[in-house]
Each structure stands twice: as C-alpha cells, then as structure tokens.
C-alpha cells in the first residue's frame, strides 16, 4: 500500500480508468480531448485556463500536467503566474464577496 495518497507516476496511468468501465471512460476521454481542441478559444488559451483551474481545485496531477503542457506550448512563466493570480483573485474574491452577507447579517441583527 502506498504511503502517500498521491504518486506522480499515477498521472501517466490516467487512461487506465477506462479498464474498469470502457464505455464511460471512452466517452470521458473523447469529451476531454474535444474540449481542448482549438475552437472559439485557442489551445494555448485553454491550457492557461486549465492551469488556473488546476490550482483552484488543487489537483496535483493537473498542476503537473498543465505546467508541462504550457511549457510545451511556449507559454512563459510570467503568463503562467498571471493566470494563477486570476485564479487567486477569484478564489479570494469568492471569500470576500460573502462579506456582504456577513455585513447584511450584522446590520439585521444589530438593527
């Protein structure tokens, strides 16, 4: 039994999830691969979105994957860090915007 929950080498085994449910696994990967193809957004833009989301949901596999993917696409570390600050701003903002609820509650309770 592994002593840690995450093993970096598990990332390359991602495709194996189809072994236990071929139909749903295939549908997922078809969908996944289609999502990242160039559309209204470029593959490069999608890679940066994925990197920011990966940090927001704190998925170590996704962080490894989309850091590597970004480097492959020539995305610079400055661009990557800016994308992360967008994630950080939204995440921080999501906490702070609830401050309005707190303020409403205080105002209501105190009259």
């Amino acid at each position: 039994m592994s002593k840690t929950y995450y093993d970096p080498t598990d990332l390359r085994k991602f495709g194996k999830i189809s072994d236990w449910n071929e139909e749903l696994g295939s549908k997922f990967f078809d969908y996944y691969n289609t999502v990242f193809q160039e559309g209204a957004l470029s593959e490069r833009e999608k890679s940066l979105i994925a990197l920011a989301v990966a940090h927001t949901i704190q998925c170590p596999y996704c962080i490894d994957a989309y850091t590597g993917d970004g480097l492959q696409r020539g995305i610079t570390k400055e661009e990557m860090m800016e994308a992360l600050h967008v994630a950080g701003a939204i995440r921080g903002g999501a906490s702070l915007v609830h401050g309005v609820q707190m303020m409403n509650k205080v105002n209501k309770l105190e009259g």
């Binding site: 390359r12 160039e38 470029s42 593959e43 490069r44 590597g68 993917d69 480097l71 492959q72 696409r73 020539g74 610079t76």
Partner: protein, 354 residues
C-alpha cells in the same frame, strides 16, 4: 535556475563526453529491466524493424564542431573549445559526391559552419553544382560575432543559400537560458540583417526558416501553432519575418542527456518519449532519406548517430569510398535515443514528419 556552462563536455572531461557511456545509459536502467520497451522492440511491434533507407534525398555535412556558443542542450557538444574542423581535402571529396548523388538537398551544419576557414570556398563550389535546396544551419549570433562575418547575409544571398536558424523562444529569458546570455539580442539583430537583404520576407525566394527546440525536459507542441505564435511575436515586437518554423524534439544524448540526468528528469523524459511513440512517424524518420557526413569524412545514418559515433553499418563508411548502391542495402543503426524522432508528430532537421 542552472547556470549555463561555458565549456563543452569534452573540455570538462565529463564522463558523458564518452559515447560508449551515453549508449550504456540509454541501454541500461528502465530499458534493461523491462520497464520500458527498447526502440528495436517497439518498432518491431509494427513490423518496421530493421529500419531500411529509402533513396537518398538529403546529404547533411557537418563541417566542424567549433561554435561561438555553448548551448545547454547541444547534441553536438559544440563550443569554442572544439577543434574538430573539416579539411579542404574532405570538402573536395564531399563535392565529388554532391555532383554524383541524386540528393535534392545539401545541408551544412556544425558547430557554427561559418567558423570553418574553408566555409566560403565550400559554399561557392557547392552552389555551382545546382542542387535544388542548399541549406546552411546558421546559429544567427555568428553573423554579429565579428566584423568578418557581418556580410554573411549578402554572401548567403549571392549563393541562394537557404538559411535555417535556431531560435528556442520569442522571449529573451527563455532564449538566453538555453543558448547563453546576450544570444537573444544578437539573434534578433541578425534576423533583422537577414530580413534587410530579403531573407524571410513574404514572397521572397530567399528562404529563412527557424528551428524551435524546447528549453527543458518537455516535448514540443504542435508545430503549426508554435509557428503562429513565433510569427506574431517576432513581427509585433521586432518587425521580423521568416518563412517556416521547424519543431525539433531534444534527443537524450550529449549535453541534453547531461542536463536530464543532472536535473533528475531522465526517466520521466524517456517515459514521455515512449508514451508519445507514433508508429506512423517511423516510416519518415530522417535517417531513412538522409546521410550524415562528419568533419573527418565518416558516414552516419543521422547527425545524432554521428555524435554517438555509430558509423553506418555498411562496407562504405567514408566519403572517400562513397557508394550509394552499397549504402542503400544497409540496416539503419538504432538505440533508445531514436524515440526522440518518433514522438508525437515526429521530429527531424526539417521539423515534424508525421
């Protein structure tokens, strides 16, 4: 961030300067214990072993390992301290072959080929043969390195040379990290000099192509997408134009192998290459239509095999007794570094192959 070395592996007496040490690393470990399949076994799965040559299309001549740069990932281990330089006599033997071969492309490389003292004579003589595509792989900075090289754009133009130049990124930081401090600014100026005489301009017959190789332990992305990004950035930031971008995968040999081992990326990189193996790229790998000639006249299946000292498996091993018919019957020599040419869309000195 690792500091760029200023000396070749050879000068530093590094273990990895020895080709048998590199081949040993590529054959042992994950490839010996069965964790990953050898390249031979992998191509055998699709009945492509042994790899055989097709009719020769490209003759690639390495005129010497001397270079004004010491790039982090150089597979040649080139640098100012390398003294291996092709003699005029060997160049003459190459010219005799160029005249007789059916190859449509002549490809001069190095080191910095311009640093060979007989480079200009060789270009003048080779241009007379009238070969369809005459490539010189110029590292760009050589054009700015010394006054005596400043007229190279005009010289290339005069002999209708197709200029192919390395450019790892459109930003200073990434370029200088891989190729040395100041390389980006010098390269930009050299590209402007080439543009000024007509190289790389839309509709110009003076071909200027760039070569992109990743600046670390990762594979290159889609060549067309990278070309689009390069063109946009170089035009917007510097007013520079060029024709095509060739995307090349770093092969795990020489200084890149040294980097992979030192940065503890070797196994992950080999996994990435093997995972990205594309059987349809095998049929078009460059060793099937190219021959590589070393500074001392020996023949190799490709420039990478040259750097691993894996001479062609043929009775004809030297340019002085060149025999195309005999060479056509050889088996191409392979090892695990060959995975670099079959990953994803494939990789060659002319970019992707699949």
């Amino acid at each position: 961030m690792s500091k760029l070395k200023t000396q070749s592996l050879h000068k530093r007496d590094s273990e990895l300067a020895k080709t048998n040490k590199q081949l040993e690393i590529l054959s042992n470990g994950i490839f010996a214990n069965g964790e990953l399949p050898t390249f031979k076994d992998k191509i055998a799965e699709s009945n492509q072993f042994p790899l055989k040559p097709k009719p020769l299309e490209i003759l690639q001549i390495n005129v010497g390992y001397m270079c004004n740069q010491v790039c982090e990932h150089c597979h040649v281990d080139a640098g100012p301290d390398r003294k291996e330089i092709m003699t005029k006599e060997t160049m003459q033997q190459c010219l005799d072959v160029i005249k007789s071969t059916g190859a449509h492309t002549l490809d001069l490389t190095g080191g910095a080929p311009e640093m060979n003292p007989n480079f200009r004579w060789f270009v003048e003589e080779a241009a007379k043969v009238g070969i369809k595509d005459f490539i010189v792989r110029s590292n760009l900075t050589i054009i700015r390195a010394n006054k005596k090289y400043h007229d190279l754009p005009e010289f290339f133009k005069k002999h209708n040379v197709h200029v192919v130049s390395s450019m790892p990124h459109w930003t200073r930081g990434k370029t200088d990290k891989q190729r040395g401090e100041g390389v980006f600014d010098q390269s930009i100026q050299a590209l402007k000099d080439l543009n000024a005489v007509g190289y790389g301009m839309p509709d110009s017959n003076l071909k200027l192509d760039l070569v992109y190789n990743p600046s670390g332990a990762f594979l290159p992305a889609n060549q067309a997408a990278m070309e689009k990004d390069f063109k946009k950035a170089l035009l917007e930031d510097f007013g520079i134009q060029f024709h095509n971008l060739f995307s090349i995968t770093n092969l795990p040999i020489s200084r890149f192998l040294d980097f992979l081992i030192a940065s503890e990326n070797y196994e992950d990189y080999m996994y990435a290459l093997v995972d990205a193996f594309n059987p349809s790229a095998v049929a078009n790998v460059m060793c099937t239509n190219t021959l590589s000639v070393s500074w001392d006249g020996y023949l190799y299946d490709c420039d990478f095999n040259q750097m691993l000292d894996l001479k062609v498996a043929s009775k004809t091993k030297h340019i002085s007794n060149y025999n195309e018919e005999v060479l056509q019957n050889r088996d191409i020599i392979i090892s695990q570094h060959c995975y670099g040419c079959t990953a994803g869309a494939g990789s060659s000195c002319q970019g992707t192959v699949a």
